[in-house]
């Protein structure tokens, strides 16, 4: 296991990790709590002993909506995902039939792209091989 990396410039560092294909979360060293979205200090406490840790990559679906588009533009699923670490984030559910999605279903994260921008995306856990 590599040395913990302290979080100094949260927004830029998160984006850099993402560009390298890594989904990283902030953790408060003294308490082990997870912070997302990345900040210079833990919201509500101001604790700034934050380090980067690799996300477990698992979560559950909290809510979702199918954003409808005029063809040929494709519809897409925007979701709120509860991460295993306890944080919630917005994402997209990809490689799925929207009709098969259900709130509470397990999801798996990967780093992909949305229109050329690196982003954490999710797929339904069961279709992961």
């Amino acid at each position: 296991m590599s040395e913990p990396v302290r979080s100094i410039h949260p927004e830029a560092e998160f984006a850099r990790y993402l560009a390298d294909g890594r989904f990283m979360l902030q953790r408060v060293v003294s308490t082990g709590e997870t912070v997302f979205f990345p900040r210079v200090a833990q919201p509500g406490t101001g604790k700034d002993d934050l380090e980067w840790v690799e996300a477990a990559g698992t979560g559950t679906l909290y809510s979702f909506t199918v954003t409808r588009n005029k063809p040929p533009a494709a519809d897409y699923v925007i979701a709120l995902v509860d991460l295993a670490e306890g944080a919630r984030m917005m994402s997209r559910i990809v490689n799925c039939d929207p009709a098969t999605l259900w709130i509470g279903m397990p999801l798996r994260a990967h780093v992909g792209e949305v229109d050329g921008t690196p982003a954490v995306l999710f797929t339904p856990e069961k279709i992961q091989s």
Binding site: P38, T65, T67, Y76, I78, M89, I103, D115
Partner: protein
Amino acid sequence: MTGFARGRAAVVGAATYGMDSKPGFSAIELLAKASFAAIADAGLVPSQIDAVFSTLPEDPFSAMSVPEYLGIRPRLVENSRTGGSAFQIYAMWAALALDAGLCDAVLICYGSNQRSGAGGLVRSASIPFPYEAPYKPRNPTTSYALAAKRHMHQYGTTREHLAEVAVAARKWAQLNPDANMRDPLSIDDVLNARMVSDPLTVRDCCLVTDGAAAVVMTRADRARDLPNKPAFLLGAADATWHRNISTSADVTVTAASEAAPRAYAQAGIGPADIDVVELYDAFTINTILFLEDFGFCAKGEGGPFVADGAIAPGGRLPVNTNGGGLSCVHPGMYGLFTMVEAVTQLRGAAGDRQVEDARIALAHGNGGVLSSQAVTIWGTADTV
């Protein structure tokens, strides 16, 4: 809760302008038309206004540009930019500032040409949130759809319940000659309309219109000497829990659940005392969430509460009697229009949509994506 200037300030003038979206006006021109009309309605002249609390959608410096345009040199300005709830917050500060003697006559005003203005939907200058923007949410609709979907999951709320809200708003709009959408609308019409962002169809979403509104507030003693029946501010409170929907701890509960009890405590009333409710219905789910959060029903029971025409004309609770953001007007920020309608109802000047013997009205503003919530309670002279 003590300390609020209960009943010590009132709206004495109110006006709207340009709700029918005639092309050719800039936002500040629409704002000025409504403002001068509200000042005249109050029986005052512009030189008697010494405080201007204003928002324009795209002008971060409207606190200066609005007084400049109107030819007023205010002693006091306010420009909280919480979106659609800003105007309730202005009313709260206006009452406190008037009561403290910081000023004598406050103009609260807003204008937008977002429908007729060049380039279609006018967007207020807000910084994209780096942890949502890459996913291309189509806000505000995406955020409200996420709340609606979760509410349906958690409480069994149905698309029919959402449609009831749109139909009730339309029935009120049909009684309001100034409303934009007055064609008949059925539950099936809403359900079968074009899906925008599941579970919301285009008929679950507010209108995109132009419009301006303005009100003038003075201290209560002066209000009684002016030509209109005053609407006294009995309580006002706001609360802010988040900016972006992904940071909301529970998208089925809003900060209105915290603001409303504080406003009730100031006013010395409860939900059962309210004769007419003007709430910020940018989407059909809003009405259900806010009726719950205001305490008209328990959390999760908003769907059944609005069923069977319960908030339509002739129902158990008059809600959004002008037709709301869904059918009357929605020029980007709708909050001031709920206050104008509350004042109109308390004056007894609402024509065919008048709620009989309306004495206490709730006027609510919602800003951002269920983010900032502000609740004002207004009453006639006998409630003070």
